[in-house]
């Protein structure tokens, strides 16, 4: 059964939830869609080993009480079916949703860079490990190394420790000066300042990065370059994340312009396409506080409540400052571009090694020659890695935006749009 709504929101993380709540008071009919089984996005992911902040629970409860907000969990966008109509799929069926206005809150994914051994079971993303633990992954008594860049490393370590893991090392690639400079600015955002105290860990090292994951059948240890020295640590899990990349694919497919790596938005969180808004990490990385305020602005703006939206501009500006400080401090060291060896797999779907990719001119050439990016993840992992390593522009998104059951694609109209 196809459905129609006044406002469709894609992504039920902080931005999407805040957008829905802000728009809900206008009384319009809202559909909130997310591919995860529960709302909350990555940062507020719930599960048997998650401890949600009260703000998240509060927001969730408020949304539940909005009779005009309908949530579709476990639902992905597969294709554009017609003007202002998306084809979506859940575990059971595919259907179309027609909307008048849309807010993209598609979040961000981790930048995962290839290094020797990164395909071993036991190696995950940094945010990936945190998400898996919240979902019930047992880590009690396990030895963990967390590496990469950004505050997510500390957050992931905190979740792991809370579940009884032993965190041997948190390896931050950024230099001490950059991280200290960022920490020095934190008092400007007191909430973040105190949060950083609770996350601080004595095993934290700056100027330290992963060199190789060691092991045969699964991870047994890790080799790190730690402040100029090579060290090896025996461990059970290695979590590596090199920052976040905005999920812009759906926005791009809808014709919204991209600026830098993120969806371009104006002061109203409006994209370059009329009636299409975007908020949260898909418009650039800035943390949950920025996502919340952006989401609220988008929600108000999308239902025509400019005054309420405008009232939030100042708050947004404050958190945008935080985002800028963050992104500058954790800029990636060029050394991380040379972690992969010739035999290191870059495309994990088709098992294409780095050696088969060097020397090609661009993504398309490399793909046709090596099958890189032809697999199930549609180049989401290797495409982002190769954009970072070689500066190759990933391909424009094409339907199906995610692997989809063919029966779902049959739900598209068979007549050409007039």
């Amino acid at each position: 059964m196809n459905e129609a709504t006044d406002l469709l929101i894609i992504g039920a993380g902080p931005a999407g939830m805040a957008a829905a709540l802000a728009a809900a008071s206008s009384g319009v009919h809202i559909v909130l869609l997310d591919d995860n089984p529960l709302p909350g996005g990555q940062i507020w992911r719930d599960g048997p080993q998650a401890s949600l902040p009260s703000a998240a629970r509060h927001l969730r409860d408020q949304l539940r009480n909005c009779a005009n907000v309908r949530c579709h969990a476990g639902t992905r966008v597969i294709a554009c079916a017609a003007d202002k109509t998306l084809l979506v799929e859940d575990a059971e069926r595919g259907w179309q949703i027609r909307y008048e206005r849309l807010i993209l809150c598609t979040g961000a994914r981790e930048l995962l860079l290839p290094f020797p051994g990164w395909t071993l079971p036991g190696v995950t993303g940094a945010g990936g490990l945190q998400a898996l633990i919240k979902g019930g992954l047992p880590v009690r008594g396990e030895r963990l190394v967390i590496a990469g860049s950004g505050p997510l490393l500390l957050a992931s370590a905190a979740t792991a420790k809370h579940q009884g893991a032993q965190v041997l090392r948190i390896a931050e690639q950024a230099r001490f000066g950059a991280v200290a400079g960022f920490a020095g600015q934190l008092p400007r955002w007191p909430g973040k300042f105190f949060q950083s105290f609770s996350l601080f860990d004595s095993h934290y090292r700056t100027n330290t990065h992963v060199v190789e994951a060691l092991g045969r059948e699964r991870l047994e240890g890790v080799r790190l370059q730690q402040q100029g020295q090579t060290i090896e640590l025996a461990c059970d899990r290695l979590a590596c994340g090199f920052g976040l990349i905005p999920n812009t694919q759906l926005g791009q497919a809808l014709g919204c312009a991209v600026e830098g790596q993120a969806l371009a938005v104006d002061a109203w969180q409006a994209t370059t396409r009329h009636d299409h808004y975007a908020a949260g990490e898909c418009t650039g990385f800035g943390g949950s506080e920025l996502a919340l305020v952006e989401g609220a602005i988008a929600g108000h703006a999308a239902v025509g409540n400019s005054a309420a939206a405008q009232q939030l501009w100042l708050r947004r500006a404050r958190w945008q400052g935080f985002a800028r400080a963050l992104n500058t401090a954790f800029a990636l060291d060029p050394r991380l571009k040379s972690l992969a060896r010739g035999d290191t797999l870059v495309c994990r779907c088709e098992d294409v090694p780095y050696g088969e990719l060097v020397g090609h001119e661009n993504w398309r050439e490399a793909k046709l020659a090596s099958r890189c990016g032809m697999g199930a993840c549609q180049g989401r992992v290797c495409g982002a890695a190769l954009e970072h390593l070689f500066g190759w522009t990933p391909p424009a998104p094409r339907p199906p935006f995610s692997p989809a059951r063919i029966e779902t694609l049959l739900e598209l109209e068979e007549t050409p749009p007039s």
Partner: protein, 371 residues
């Protein structure tokens, strides 16, 4: 060597046609420069289906000879070319189509092609995923599949062949002008750039025919043969409006290609949802289980179609020194080796391995102005 003389022959286009021509020339000790704009035409977008088609005698002669050439090349093809001799199974949905299968069978048999008529029960046995109730089919045993971009790359990997990434903006006699203004010259120029040929030769009667394709995740051993509905012959080829036909091809990876669609009058490369749905519905009609498989990517490409469905192979009748190898529509991968042999025979003024007449450009462009 005169100024700007860069090779004996310049080939424009590094798709499967340009590559086959380059390989054939290099084997005759000819120095070849292959120029390619890097746009990726039908070679990259197509299914790589190697098949004998017999809509008319010229098409049959060309495809049959070419397939024989592919089978000769096969032992030398690297693994990544994914050559398989898996056969094409033409599907008859009803008695009328079975009659088409029968006459096709007689015709192909008469031309020495190994083929077999398949009845209802045998069809189900050979391809159990097909829906029950199909009338039967015709198996063409010599047909196969290929990963054409890899085959083109292999053909171009020869000492006598140089490749350059360049867009040609003009052809003048046996000289070509690049985007940067430089002129390169040779003894002959071969135009093998598919639908882009009309940019350099507006007089060519070539039209882009858009096609969609979808590839599934890996489902090994679901399908064995390339499955094509006989309606393909009776409807899709002759339709002027948008049309679809069931075409399911198993890749060596265990993935399935699902096609095919045809649209005229568009050069927009976007995957169109309505066309994708129409095409998939047709395939699911023949193989209901496809509905539960996951499609992981869809894309489009453009076939360079000539008015009579046959390629233009030979010297341009009004432009001496310019040789054409264009207009192969959906059969470029199949007929690339034959095209190369035809072209080389004409370039060297030798007897052609098959009659060149039906493919000569003069059938559209008029009689030669140069003698």
């Amino acid at each position: 060597m005169s100024k700007g003389h860069v090779a004996d022959v310049i080939i424009i286009g590094a798709g499967i046609i340009g590559a086959a021509c380059a390989q054939a020339l290099a084997r005759r000790n000819v120095n070849v420069l292959v120029l390619d704009a890097g746009w990726h035409g039908a070679t990259a977008a197509g299914m790589g289906h190697l098949l004998v088609l017999d809509d008319n005698p010229a098409e049959l002669a060309l495809s049959q000879y070419s397939l024989q050439r592919w089978r000769e090349l096969a032992p030398a093809l690297p693994d990544d070319c994914a050559w398989r001799n898996n056969g094409t199974l033409w599907l008859a949905a009803n008695a009328e189509e079975m009659a088409v299968a029968h006459s096709k069978y007689l015709n192909l048999l008469a031309h020495g092609e190994a083929c077999e008529l398949i009845g209802r029960a045998a069809l189900h046995q050979r391809e159990p995923e097909l829906r029950p109730g199909l009338e039967g089919g015709l198996l063409i045993k010599g047909d196969g599949i290929l990963y054409a971009p890899a085959a083109a790359r292999w053909m171009l990997d020869a000492p006598k062949i140089r490749q350059q990434r360049a867009h040609v903006s003009e052809i003048d006699g046996t000289r070509v002008r690049l985007d940067d203004g430089r002129w390169l010259s040779a003894d002959a120029v071969v135009l093998a750039n598919g639908i882009h040929a009309t940019e350099l030769c507006p007089e060519l009667p070539i039209e882009p025919k858009k096609g969609h394709l979808l590839i599934t995740d890996r489902y090994p051993a679901t399908v064995t043969h390339t499955l094509v509905e006989l309606g393909y012959v009776t409807s899709a080829h002759n339709a002027s409006g948008p049309s679809v036909a069931c075409n399911i091809q198993p890749r060596p990876t265990g993935q399935l290609f699902i096609g095919a669609s045809r649209q005229f009058g568009t050069v927009d490369p976007q995957v169109e949802g309505w066309m994708l749905a129409k095409m998939l519905k047709r395939a699911v009609d023949y193989m209901p289980g496809l509905a539960h498989l996951h499609g992981i990517r869809a894309w489009t490409g453009f076939r360079a179609a000539s008015p009579d469905g046959l390629p233009l192979v030979g010297q341009h009748p009004q432009r001496k020194g310019l040789w054409l190898a264009v207009g192969h529509e959906g059969l470029g991968v199949t007929t690339a080796p034959a095209t190369a042999d035809l072209l080389v025979a004409q370039l060297f003024d030798e007897t052609s391995p098959l009659a060149a007449q039906p493919y000569l450009p003069q059938r559209f462009l008029g009689e030669p102005a140069h003698a």
